[in-house]
């Protein structure tokens, strides 16, 4: 079973089209193994990316050095998945 300890989902908001293309460039950085939950659309729409733990620091440095604003939408994905699983099991018991 694939688990996601330490994976974070970052919500990234581009200030302008230049920053939007910087975010889009992340799509080609295969080594980061990023999972775009919400793809790059336009400046008005945030981009949500699941970032594995091993890439977190690199991705955050990449964004911060380009002054791209982001927030952490999900601190630790596995915690949320464990809650979901627990809820399903307890509801099934009921």
């Amino acid at each position: 079973k694939e688990t996601f300890e330490g994976h974070q989902v970052l919500r990234i908001v581009a200030k302008d089209d230049v920053q939007l293309s910087l975010i889009k460039d992340l799509e080609d950085m295969i080594e980061f193994e990023l999972d775009f939950w919400r793809g790059v659309t336009d400046v008005a729409t945030p981009v949500d990316i699941r970032v594995p733990m091993h890439s977190l620091q690199s991705v955050k440095i990449y964004l911060e050095t380009q002054d791209v604003e982001y927030s952490i939408m999900i601190e630790d994905l596995q915690v949320l998945l464990d809650e979901e699983q627990e809820e399903m099991e307890s509801a099934a018991r009921v």
């Binding site: 079973k1 694939e2 659309t41």
Partner: protein, 311 residues
């Protein structure tokens, strides 16, 4: 905790594929004069592609198609689809609009459109989106079933890399989960609306995704979408954006509703259900029913418009 009937089925929680399949069988057994199950094919791993048919008679009546779960990790869609199935049965004979539609049209609902992927999200990888067919020459598995349709297939807006989440597949309709719908829609030949439901990001989209060329019915589709999201928002204030795929999100080739629209099914829409909050695909189960209820209002607008505007 197997429910004995669909009235005791717990719509407010997520269910395994076997629980959804047994719900479908119960609904059919409870409503022999309204609901039947059509198996339109098999998934790569051999699971049945079950479509619930809601019909009050007639032969090959004009029909409406709704599918959920083509991207397996979008769990709120399969859960909403289950709720829609029960809603149709509950409202027929009670709600005048639903009754009028079903007295003249059929509704087809495929709840688990990507069963292999859905099973895999429950057992191995909650983040799985694609089908589960291996890709020859690659260690990566699966094709994005919303890039595999013969509509701008292979163009920009899909990946040729089997390891990508938007891998389009080796050729159009290579995935049995897609080809089965293609064959069914073509053999039926009388679909008037096609609604494919995804999550998340709260959008109502119409063709096209693979080209900037406006759909010839763009004005009507736009106005109907506007009315639908207005009614959707009336329940809980959930705000949607709407428009053509390419103008509202991004270029996407090989998409479902581009193909259905090119087949002549005018009222072709894609929903992106909740969430815009902080959960993404891991939408808490307590939002299933509110999501299904608000989406139903928009679905009813589209179905009602289709019924009242025969073509």
């Amino acid at each position: 905790a197997e429910p004995r009937n669909t009235d005791s089925f717990d719509f407010s929680r997520y269910h395994s594929i076997s629980e959804i399949y047994s719900f479908q069988d119960m609904l059919v057994a409870e409503n022999p004069n309204l609901v039947s199950k059509v198996v339109i094919g098999q998934s790569y791993e051999g699971r049945p592609l079950n479509v619930l048919k809601f019909s009050t008679g007639g032969t090959n009546r004009p029909a409406i198609w709704i599918d959920t779960g083509i991207h397996s990790r979008e769990w709120v869609t399969q859960a909403s689809g289950t709720w829609f199935a029960k809603k149709i049965v509950t409202d027929y004979g009670r709600d005048p609009a639903v009754t009028a539609i079903l007295n003249k049209m059929d509704i087809f609902l495929e709840i688990v459109t990507n069963p292999d992927g859905y099973f895999y999200t429950h057992t191995s990888n909650r983040m799985w989106r694609k089908t589960r067919k291996p890709n020859s020459g690659s260690s990566c598995v699966g094709v994005d079933p919303n890039r595999n349709w013969d509509a701008g297939f292979g163009g920009p807006g899909a990946s040729s890399n089997p390891c990508s989440e938007t891998y389009r597949g080796p050729r159009a309709h290579s995935e049995s989960e897609v080809k089965s719908i293609v064959d069914f829609v073509k053999s039926h030949g009388n679909f008037k609306a096609f609604i494919s439901i995804h999550s998340y990001s709260q959008m109502l989209l119409y063709p096209y995704g693979y080209t900037t060329t406006p759909a010839k019915d763009q004005a009507e589709l736009h106005n109907l979408a506007q009315r639908a999201i207005t009614d959707l928002a009336s329940l809980y204030g959930t705000r949607y954006r709407f428009g053509s795929i390419i103008n509202t999100i991004y270029q996407a080739s090989g998409g479902t509703i581009d193909w259905t629209y090119n087949q002549g099914i005018k009222y072709s829409y894609t929903f992106e259900l909740r969430d815009t909050g902080r959960y993404g695909f891991i939408l808490p189960a307590n939002q299933i029913i509110p999501t299904a209820e608000e989406t139903w209002l928009a679905l009813m607008d589209i179905m009602d418009h289709t019924f009242k505007n025969p073509y």
